[in-house]
């Protein structure tokens, strides 16, 4: 496919990797914060092809992984109602709440439908005027325009049977939470290209200045990621800490203003809890007063539960870059993608699942 395959050329990749090796004189720790990048890095083994001096950590870059347990529990309550058609992205089906997951509710007869787009859920609401259609609106800034557009379309069409269960989170506040932690050891960040497609990258300038870290907006294909790392390493070696853009074919400094306008029309910034991390101030989105009728929590009042996560799971530490999936005693035995204990094993973009899928053999050897 055009704009994909040419960014996967192994010959060019190895040339770039060689250059990185020549330039690296010291130990550097880099964090990426995008599940898509985690997946590419582990699948193509970029982390192992880099010089030993460079360590790559995988941050809280997967919305499936960071959706908190109490929101999953609300989804389970709503999906169990006989008057509700519950629509969700497929990735959310196996994420464990306190006791069960959406797949279990579906097996019990819950009307749960996996959709490709929130706009498909709006169409289901149009087609089923006598049923309540709830869409599980999880995601980062990348997904926010689609979720907001679903609300605008429902509003335009005066649909009174469509609501969102919102769990929208924002990336820069999570980066700040990680950088401001006392034991932070991250020297540079790869910022997620698709988030920046929407938001641009001006928000990162104050972070780079305050915490003295270079940040490089980076795409998702192997060559993109390797080039992003090269740009970071040359800044680190030169002692600069600027925001740079590797993913110029899709990202501009200001981002997509039209998309930002649509997001701002529908959503307002609010505090959000991140699974495994906790509350981060002003790190998410909630529906504005004008669109409160489309808020499933307001309409159905699904109630709050207290999360009791598996005590073994260290996904919170993994998401903050403090631990590696291999550090978890449950990894690969008590916790697998089939029977996940934590969200980072559920999502195919979660760090634990990526390591399980592409690194399982290494574990056997090591064990």
């Amino acid at each position: 496919m055009k704009y994909l395959d040419e960014y996967r050329d192994p010959r060019l990749a190895s040339k770039m990797l060689k250059r990185i090796a020549e330039r690296t004189s010291r130990r550097w720790t880099i964090m990426e914060i995008c599940g898509g990048q985690t997946h590419t890095i582990i699948r193509s083994g970029i982390d192992r092809l880099l010089p030993d001096k460079i360590s790559i950590l995988h941050g809280p870059g997967c919305p499936v992984c960071v959706t908190p347990v109490h929101i999953i529990d609300k989804a389970l309550v709503l999906a169990s109602r006989t008057d509700v058609i519950f629509c969700t992205f497929g990735d959310m089906m196996r994420v464990p709440g306190n006791k069960e997951d959406l797949l279990t509710v579906k097996a019990r007869g819950g009307d749960i439908r996996m959709v490709y787009s929130p706009l498909d859920a709006v169409q289901i609401a149009r087609n089923n005027p006598r049923r309540e259609v709830v869409f599980f609106a999880v995601g980062f800034e990348t997904t926010a325009p689609a979720n907001a557009m679903a609300v605008l379309q429902a509003y335009r069409d005066s649909l009174d049977n469509f609501t969102l269960l919102v769990s929208q989170v924002l990336v820069p506040p999570a980066i700040e939470a990680i950088l401001s932690a006392p034991d932070n050891r991250i020297n540079g960040f790869l910022a997620a290209g698709h988030v920046c497609t929407v938001m641009g990258y001006r928000e990162y300038n104050p972070l780079a200045e305050k915490y003295l870290v270079p940040i490089v907006v980076t795409g998702f294909e192997p060559l993109d990621i390797i080039q992003g790392i090269e740009m970071l390493i040359s800044q680190l070696e030169n002692g600069t800490c600027r925001v740079e853009n590797q993913y110029r074919r899709a990202v501009t400094e200001a981002g997509n203003l039209k998309a930002q306008h649509i997001i701002n029309e529908v959503f307002d910034v609010t505090d959000r809890t991140w699974r495994g991390i906790g509350n981060i101030p002003l790190s998410g989105l909630a529906l504005r007063e004008k669109y409160r009728d489309f808020d499933a929590e307001v309409r159905f009042k699904p109630g709050d539960t207290v999360a009791c996560e598996s005590s073994e799971c260290i996904s919170g530490l993994i998401l903050q870059g403090a631990k590696n999936p291999f550090d978890c005693p449950a990894f690969g035995n008590r916790c697998t993608p089939e029977k996940p204990l934590g969200a980072t094993m559920v999502s195919s973009e979660g760090a634990c699942a990526a390591y399980f899928r592409y690194r399982a053999k290494t574990v056997e050897k090591a064990g």
């Binding site: 060019l12 250059r19 490709y116 787009s117 995601g139 698709h194 497609t197 110029r248 074919r249």
Partner: protein, 85 residues
Amino acid sequence: MCLAIPGKIEEIIDAADALGRVARVSFGGANREINLACVPEAQVGDYILAHVGVALSIIDAEEAEKIFDYLRQMEESSETKKDAN
């Protein structure tokens, strides 16, 4: 789940109102309907980056080439170095 994929606009289907502007987009031969409300300037033949049914940006063909220009330069300069040795 934040992955956005590049596809080519084959046909603009519905331009009745800005929110509903939809295109048929080909992703390596597989077609899907994609909403164009966030990229009102997109035209047939453009490559867009789509995520969960919504186009987020138009791919800049010139910028897309630059990484390869850069790699070519890299190769040339390493060859010049080799020649110099």
